[in-house]
């Protein structure tokens, strides 16, 4: 909470948040045993099926969140970066 603005660090809460949003669906899909089950059913669908379809929707929402976080973060960085000095953006991937 310092008064004077300082350039953002390489790791910022926003970047961390974006990274989590991107990694969460990957972890969820790979953890197959957590969803390989017939129950609870939903509308006639075994859990295995409705859970994965729901996961698609959740991924869509998480991607919106990640996009927003990266955008805000890049906007903040740009203010500290004069036009022609592209900084070292190791973590800009996610």
């Amino acid at each position: 909470m310092s008064g004077a603005p300082t350039p953002p660090k390489t790791i910022t809460p926003l970047r961390l948040f974006a990274t989590l949003c991107v990694l969460a669906p990957i972890a969820a899909v790979i953890a197959v045993p957590t969803y390989n089950s017939a129950t609870p059913k939903l509308g006639g669908f075994p859990f295995f099926y409705w859970y994965q379809l729901l996961l698609v929707v959740a991924t869509g929402i998480l991607m919106v969140a990640a996009y927003w976080a990266v955008k805000v973060d890049e906007g903040r960085r740009k203010r500290f970066r004069p036009a022609e000095t592209p900084g070292n953006d190791e973590g800009a991937g996610a």
């Binding site: 991107v22 990694l23 669906p25 990957i26 899909v29 790979i30 197959v32 045993p33 390989n36 089950s37 017939a38 059913k41 509308g43 006639g44 669908f45 075994p46 295995f48 099926y49 994965q52 379809l53 996961l55 698609v56 929707v57 991924t59 869509g60 929402i61 991607m63 919106v64 990640a66 996009y67 990266v70 955008k71 592209p86 900084g87 070292n88 953006d89 800009a92 991937g93 996610a94």
Partner: protein
């Protein structure tokens, strides 16, 4: 339920054929008109024909990338795989979930560096990054070899629609295949004249048809079949029936013990492989701005959701009473036959047209991608280094024709099964380019020769193992999964091969660095990977 499950018999289905033909003509006209659409810059450059002038914004990109993911083959093969084996086939949904986070992570970097240096193909990037024409050749050849059978499979999709309509056949006599032949000549012609703009424009019509078809299918068909509960229960009953040839049940609606790792590796391996395919990268490189792709990712998940429902059409086909035998021995006919049996003939016509047109978009993009690879990384690099931009475009146009007719010959000369086998092998091969492309986006640590050695090891291992898979009905390429060496656990062959690839890469890398082997010149700088287009910036094609 006493539905007539013998749609594949009988004569030509007139109404359906009429509607499919009508919509096909409409799309063909659009394809030719597309040549004049959104013209920018110099018409001679390969950017124009091969990347649509790199001018596509979010809206078009959504359709274009969706077109890559949602091919006629996915429409036909994914449900066919659920129809035949059950839950394991549903990996396609996990795969299309995983694709989007991966895209979000690495594709903006590829876009930036490609835009900055005028790279048209992934192999262009590899050459620039690692300073190695040999490695770039390896990437290009892998891309072309993996893409060819993929194009052939689009034809298989069209073939199965023709078969269900009573036109064309499983056998390969010329008259029977004439409709397919005509469809392909038209596709080849408009791709030649309009380049990437043609599939981009057709993709609108295609997606409209597909979305209407799927929405209707997932509401109407379950209603006719007595609801989802009944669909799942008849699927699980049928899949549990013991097959007299193999003495084992065909599958189950949940993953059997030992299928967990195959499921997970199929999903992650296919997701990592997808954007190694040159046709998938084309949609990304054709965008206007760095942020276009990321902004699009969340909207693109709509395709994955639709794919999930398309997959379940396989179970609906079971519930409708179809068996492999009633489909003429070919499970690939499950979805077209289901549409034909369930829908009134006018709507079946629309649904079948969606599959046919769904084949045209990816086939066009794939042939353009393969042609760009040949032109940039074989023709210019090894045959005619001083080729002018116009010559490059001309070569690309001709090669796109060659590639398509090669695919046609493939389907007519061999059978559909070999096209599918080669496509599966293609997935194994293309994943081996992952370290060179994605690794290269983040680090220069890997030596070019080490990357080449890893690539070769992965390709050889994967091809041999895939070839050795046999079943009661097939001697080679019978399975996408195989035992991991020294274990009793099966996994997707492409992923095991990638591990072999990485091990060889790391070992070779240590050795090559220790002996100070020449590392090649890196044409890129760290800032290039975050490059964006702030204002108008002239397009250029990387020098050879």
């Amino acid at each position: 339920m006493n539905l007539e499950a013998s749609p594949t018999a009988g004569g030509v289905h007139g109404v359906e054929l009429g509607i499919v033909t009508g919509l096909f003509v409409l799309v063909a006209v659009l394809g030719f008109l597309a040549a004049r659409w959104r013209r920018t810059g110099s018409q001679k450059d390969l950017h124009e024909w091969g990347l649509g002038g790199r001018s596509f914004g979010g809206f078009i990109t959504w359709f274009l990338i969706g077109g890559d993911l949602y091919t006629a083959y996915t429409f036909v093969a994914v449900p066919a795989s659920l129809f035949a084996t059950g839950a394991l086939g549903f990996f396609a949904v996990g795969y299309t979930i995983l694709v989007w986070p991966l895209v979000f992570i690495f594709l903006p970097r590829l876009w930036s560096v490609s835009r900055k240096h005028g790279y048209v193909t992934p192999a262009d990037f590899v050459k620039g990054r690692h300073g190695s024409r040999g490695l770039s050749l390896a990437i290009a050849v892998t891309g072309i070899v993996a893409t060819m059978p993929y194009i052939a499979l689009q034809l298989v999709g069209i073939q199965s629609v023709l078969y269900v309509m009573g036109v064309g056949s499983n056998s390969s006599s010329f008259e029977q295949d004439l409709p397919l032949f005509i469809a392909f000549i038209i596709l080849a012609a408009f791709t030649y004249t309009s380049g990437l703009r043609a599939p981009a424009m057709i993709a609108f019509v295609k997606d409209l048809l597909i979305y209407v078809t799927i929405l209707v299918a997932v509401i109407y068909i379950p209603m006719r079949l007595g609801g989802w509960t009944r669909i799942f229960s008849s699927a699980s009953k049928r899949l549990a029936t013991v097959n007299p040839t193999t003495h084992a049940p065909a599958g189950s609606t949940l993953l059997a013990h030992g299928n967990t790792l195959p499921f997970a590796t199929l999903a992650i391996g296919s997701a990592m492989a997808l954007f190694m395919y040159p046709h998938a990268q084309i949609g990304v490189l054709a965008t206007k701005q760095r942020s276009t792709v990321r902004r699009n990712v969340s909207a693109l998940t709509v395709y994955s959701l639709m794919l999930g429902f398309v997959a379940l059409l396989g179970y609906m086909a079971i519930a409708a009473g179809f068996t492999t035998k009633s489909l003429g021995g070919n499970t690939q006919h499950a979805v077209p036959a289901l549409f034909d049996a369930m829908f009134p003939s006018w709507f079946a016509g629309i649904a079948l047209a969606a599959i046919v047109i769904g084949a045209l978009v990816p086939a066009a993009i794939m042939s353009i991608a393969a042609a760009n690879l040949f032109t940039r990384n074989i023709f210019v690099d090894f045959i005619k280094p001083d080729a002018s931009p116009k010559q490059q475009t001309d070569v690309s146009k001709w090669v796109s024709l060659l590639v398509k007719f090669g695919a046609l010959a493939f389907v007519l000369g061999l059978d559909a099964t070999s096209a599918i086998n080669f496509q599966l092998l293609g997935g194994v091969l293309i994943l081996q380019t992952f370290p060179a492309i994605v690794g290269g986006l983040y680090t220069r640590y890997f030596h070019r020769w080490a990357l080449l050695a890893g690539w070769a090891a992965g390709i050889v291992y994967g091809s041999v193992v895939a070839w050795k898979q046999s079943s009661a009905t097939q001697h080679h390429f019978a399975s996408q999964v195989a035992l991991i060496p020294w274990t009793h656990q099966k996994a997707y062959i492409a992923v095991t091969a990638l591990v072999v690839n990485l091990v060889v890469l790391l070992v070779a890398n240590v050795v090559l660095r220790a002996v100070n082997a020449p590392a090649g010149v890196d044409a890129t700088s760290p800032a290039d990977y975050n490059h964006d287009v702030e204002q108008e910036e002239p397009l250029k094609v990387a020098a050879a």
